[in-house]
Symmetry: C2
DNA sequence: TATTCATATGAATGGAATTTAATATGGACC
DNA sequence: GGTCCATATTAAATTCCATTCATATGAATA
């Protein structure tokens, strides 16, 4: 009986983080909710491309969004925003903390 | 002056982790050094494929290897094996901890 | 309701990463 | 030296992803 040590699910979540734009979004959102325009400015990335990446993050459950007037606000779900001692992201399977 | 929040270098390191086989190798090595045959058995992956993934991990500095008789032993470098309170992997830019 | 603003979606492309198969290397042992 | 064993390397095939471009949606406001 061969035991798979690691859940492929965890690798999949990590893959979502393994892109500079998506990682940038998450890092930015660690300091609070932002709308898409603000993220675009901060990360210096095109509208459509950012939107695709936001969709990937949303599909993975790493961000959530709601409308505010004519803009869309993105934020980290409570379960993901693990702020015990410094900035960290909780993926469920593992936790990533930044210095 | 547009500030890139996240270092692309960190995303790149995370990409190395974002594969089930490579993540499995790291998790396995967290409990101690292993030779390639042992890893093959544990992870149920073909020799050549595992070798490729080990090379990727080595190139990223996430594992190191040395010969022991006729086998090759792989282990986590000291800088990576961050064992403060549970199992964790230190990427430099961030730290990944498993429950 | 027509227009504009902010964001999302879909299809097409190019390039990179994964996988496989075949072969090479290099130490151990006879 | 020759053979076996464990692992690495190369090249080719394939699959996956990021990016771009063009267009759609949908709320706000005139």
């Amino acid at each position: 009986m061969k035991t798979k040590i690691t859940s492929p699910a965890c690798a999949e979540k990590l893959k979502v983080l393994s892109d500079p734009t998506r990682l940038g979004v998450l890092e930015s959102l660690m300091s609070g909710p932002k709308n898409v325009g603000e993220l675009m400015g901060e990360l210096d990335v095109e509208q459509s491309l950012l939107s695709h990446h936001l969709a990937t993050l949303r599909d993975a459950g790493l961000v959530e969004s709601f409308r505010d007037g004519k803009t869309m606000i993105y934020q980290l779900p409570e379960s993901v925003a693990d702020s015990t001692a410094g900035k960290a992201i909780n993926l469920g399977c593992c936790k990533i903390s930044f210095d």
